[in-house]
Symmetry: C2
Subunit: 157 residues, 2 copies
Amino acid sequence: MSTQPMRYPPVHELSSEECWARLRTMVVGRLALAGKEHPELFPVNYVVDRGTVVFRSDPGTKIAASMDQARVAFEVDSFEPATNEAWSVVVKGSLEPVLQTADVIDAISLPLFPWQWGSKGFFVRIVPASLSGRRFVVADPGHWASQLMGIRRSSDE
Amino acid sequence: MSTQPMRYPPVHELSSEECWARLRTMVVGRLALAGKEHPELFPVNYVVDRGTVVFRSDPGTKIAASMDQARVAFEVDSFEPATNEAWSVVVKGSLEPVLQTADVIDAISLPLFPWQWGSKGFFVRIVPASLSGRRFVVADPGHWASQLMGIRRSSDE
């Protein structure tokens, strides 16, 4: 609709390296799965491990989906008050259960602290097919500063 | 897997009123749509308006999905340092474009500040089919406090 495209600061695409670096700075992301009527969408605690995203879960929708190697999307975002920049990273890929004993032992050693209490005895891995990210100056820093004041800065900024 | 269910603090389901109250405290949520290969997942700025969730968008995936009244999921979460409680709310429903002149005029008056610069000339509404929410004490407050220090508290706590 705009006839003056130059009045807006640009959206910067993040490189694959930048996407991974930013994924490593956060601990909660959101996992989207195809659902029967509507998509399923869950917040999950995660950790980056050797080019994949790993999280723990109890038996349920996410574990069942991992058995089917479901196609998923996983998103992480944040806001950096110091620069008024917002960013988001989206990983698209397949869920895979961590089943082999050696893999489970590896996974247990990951610094993965589930958000929610419970046994969370299963590990699930998102194996990426694509990775994309963007950062941009927020449109109304005053509004955003008041709304998002104090969200931690990512350590690589 | 646990044989000692009592060792974990409970997960509290949020009532519909509590879900709406918490949705009103935040400004960024994540929208999941069915996708061709993988689900689509976007961070969006939103506002609650008369029992729906409204956001602005430029022409693209989300607008096209709204024309098809796509089934979507929308999620908002936060962490309250004062109580070590995390919470999340998920709205499942259908996207609807805001097309009628009177509705567009109404929508323009909403306190909706897009995260990203651009014209964002279209309004889209999520009409809920279901609403669910939960809150729980985080499993490792020390870890979480360092990771999430300072995320704003919702005003209804």
